[in-house]
């Protein structure tokens, strides 16, 4: 290669200096590490768990090894999957009602100061009272088990939606509010074109919290409701397995609950990203 040729190739290729190379390497490492590291930690933990059980001859009714838990998960899949569906149904219904109730109340509160002053304190009281403390009462007064579970899960889940959405509705840009006034916008127009879009990022933040909480609410309510015939969810299976010292099944059910929680969070994060990616700062990736 002659000198002239080398010069030419240098000119046509983009200039990548040492800084840029270091930055690219860091980016690549981060991209890979984000997935590989958690998986590696998981594998190590499982290995350690397995070795501890084997080396110490721990009986499976005290601590089953990961292999046995996994086998149980497959063998008991029919029972566990039915239970999962029940818990999932309660969770999603509760989340839906929490969204409707939370957003509805938030809109009502921002439309009327009187409403907010009258009812907001009670929303706070409902939120701060532990659901385990109210649940037994609810199951006394509500005949339907499903309805009782739903109420409990809703009680836990609605508040983040309510408080985040209220915050969002009130944080519309004040100059834009003035502009809407100048152009004679009606209350409804202000709500629809200004306040609801402003509240969307806040609402989605609340929704992600509420998703996890409605699962917690559903599981806690099931514990309180106790062993009760048909339509039993994962929490009930855990209780039942505990009475029978079927520890592997307890672990299997627990794994399913955790996986469900992760899945709900991931789905809501994806939803949030899809709805905000065009305009909101939180969904942007910036060049550093």
């Amino acid at each position: 290669m002659t000198l002239a040729e080398r010069d030419e190739s240098a000119a046509s290729a983009p200039t990548i200096d040492a800084d840029e190379r270091a930055r690219r390497r860091a980016r690549r490492l981060e991209r890979v590490g984000k997935w590989v590291l958690p998986v590696l930690v998981m594998a190590l933990a499982l290995l350690a768990w397995d070795r501890i059980v084997v080396w110490n001859d721990i009986p499976h009714y005290t601590l089953p090894g990961p292999g046995l838990v996994f086998r149980t998960l497959i063998e008991d899949w029919a029972i566990l999957f039915d239970a999962l569906l029940v818990t999932l149904q309660i969770t999603l219904l509760a989340l839906l009602v929490a969204v409707l109730g939370g957003v509805g109340l938030a809109v009502l509160f921002t439309q009327s100061r009187w409403m907010e002053m009258s009812f907001y304190p009670y929303a706070v009281i409902l939120q701060v009272t532990p659901v385990v403390a109210i649940a037994p009462l609810i199951f006394i007064y509500v005949d339907s088990r499903i309805a009782g579970l739903l109420i409990c899960a809703w009680l836990v889940a609605f508040f983040p939606v309510l408080s985040n959405t209220t915050l969002g509705l009130n944080s519309a840009d004040h100059n834009l509010r003035d502009l809407f006034r100048i152009y004679g916008a009606t209350r409804w127009q202000r709500l629809r074109f200004l306040q609801l879009p402003s509240a969307l990022p806040y609402f989605l933040g609340g929704l992600r919290i509420a998703g996890g909480l409605s699962l917690i609410g559903a599981v806690v309510a099931e514990y309180v409701a106790g062993t009760g015939g048909i339509g039993s969810g994962l929490a009930f299976r855990i209780l039942e397995a505990g009475y029978r010292l079927n520890i592997p099944r307890m672990f299997a059910a627990l794994i399913l609950i955790a996986a469900t929680g992760v899945l709900i969070f991931a789905a809501l994060s994806l939803l949030s990203h899809l709805m905000l990616r065009k305009w909101h700062e939180s969904a942007m990736t910036r060049e550093r």
Partner: protein, 270 residues
């Protein structure tokens, strides 16, 4: 107690301006906040069809308060503000200090807003929206989101939105204060060109002497504590004004006048 220049000050509108039909009149307006904070005292202002009026003054002189009163966003504590022949829908356009765009809406949707709030569908007013964008040179960006635009471009969208209803009066509250000087000069030029084409009346709040002289045919100099008018200057240079005007001796003389009046206003406040 007012100082010497303030006492000499007498509203002296130019002959040409006085001949124009009136549009809006402010008479002896006071604005008092919380019972004792006097934001504006005894302000009178005649806005005539085709005027370009700058309200010039230090911060706290009540120029933004005056603009909010003109916009109908607040009401005078005393005195009155009246549109000659009444104000009709779409007569008023406003540009704030920030672009104040809806980040979730595209450029075209933002410009559509004033018409949308009057119940007009996009299809029905598409031509007006695109025409407004063409006026500010952004017709290629109609589907962009505000975050994709530079500060100057956002301000242009804001101006397009103010113009889309073809208002008789446009109120501008230090719209270019946050922009760099090169962008500000360009937007000043473009603003005058725009006004030439659509012939609206402008009331423009600024704290820049140069900007007020370049843009307006009347400068209302205001002083603080309490906010009040201390002088009205006529800038009789003809439009269109270009870079040649910006470097002329005439421009420099007007700037000196306005600057002296502003100094009087500041001295008064201290």
């Amino acid at each position: 107690m007012p100082s010497e220049p303030a006492r000499q000050a007498a509203p002296a509108p130019s002959g040409a301006a006085a001949a124009r039909p009136p549009l809006l009149r402010m008479q002896g307006v006071d604005k008092v906040f919380n019972g004792d904070v006097v934001a504006l005292k005894g302000m009178s202002l005649d806005v005539r069809e085709g005027d370009f009026i700058s309200l010039l003054g230090p911060s706290g002189c009540g120029k933004s308060t005056a603009l909010r009163l003109l916009a109908g966003l607040s009401h005078p504590s005393r005195g009155r503000i009246a549109w000659d022949g009444g104000q009709e829908e779409g007569d008023l356009g406003v540009v704030f200090q920030e672009p104040t765009l809806m980040p979730w809406a595209t450029v075209a949707q933002n410009v559509w807003l004033p018409l949308r709030l009057r119940g007009k569908s996009y299809a029905a007013v598409k031509d007006e929206v695109l025409e407004a964008l063409r006026l500010v040179g952004l017709e290629k960006f109609q589907t962009a989101y505000p975050r994709e635009l530079s500060g100057g471009m956002k301000m242009r969208v804001s101006i397009a939105r103010a113009l889309v209803t073809r208002p008789r009066l446009v109120l501008m509250d230090e719209p270019f204060a946050a922009l760099d000087e090169i962008t500000r000069f360009r937007l000043n030029d473009d603003l005058l060109a725009l006004r030439d084409r659509i012939g609206c009346t402008v009331v423009f709040v600024t704290h820049s002497v140069f900007e007020s002289v370049f843009l307006s045919d009347r400068i209302v100099v205001m002083a603080a504590r309490p906010g009040r008018v201390i002088r009205e200057l006529a800038v009789d240079a003809p439009y269109p004004r270009t870079d040649a005007f910006r470097t002329s001796a005439e421009y420099a003389a007007y700037c000196r006048d306005a600057s002296d009046a502003l100094h009087a206003a500041m001295g008064d406040a201290a």
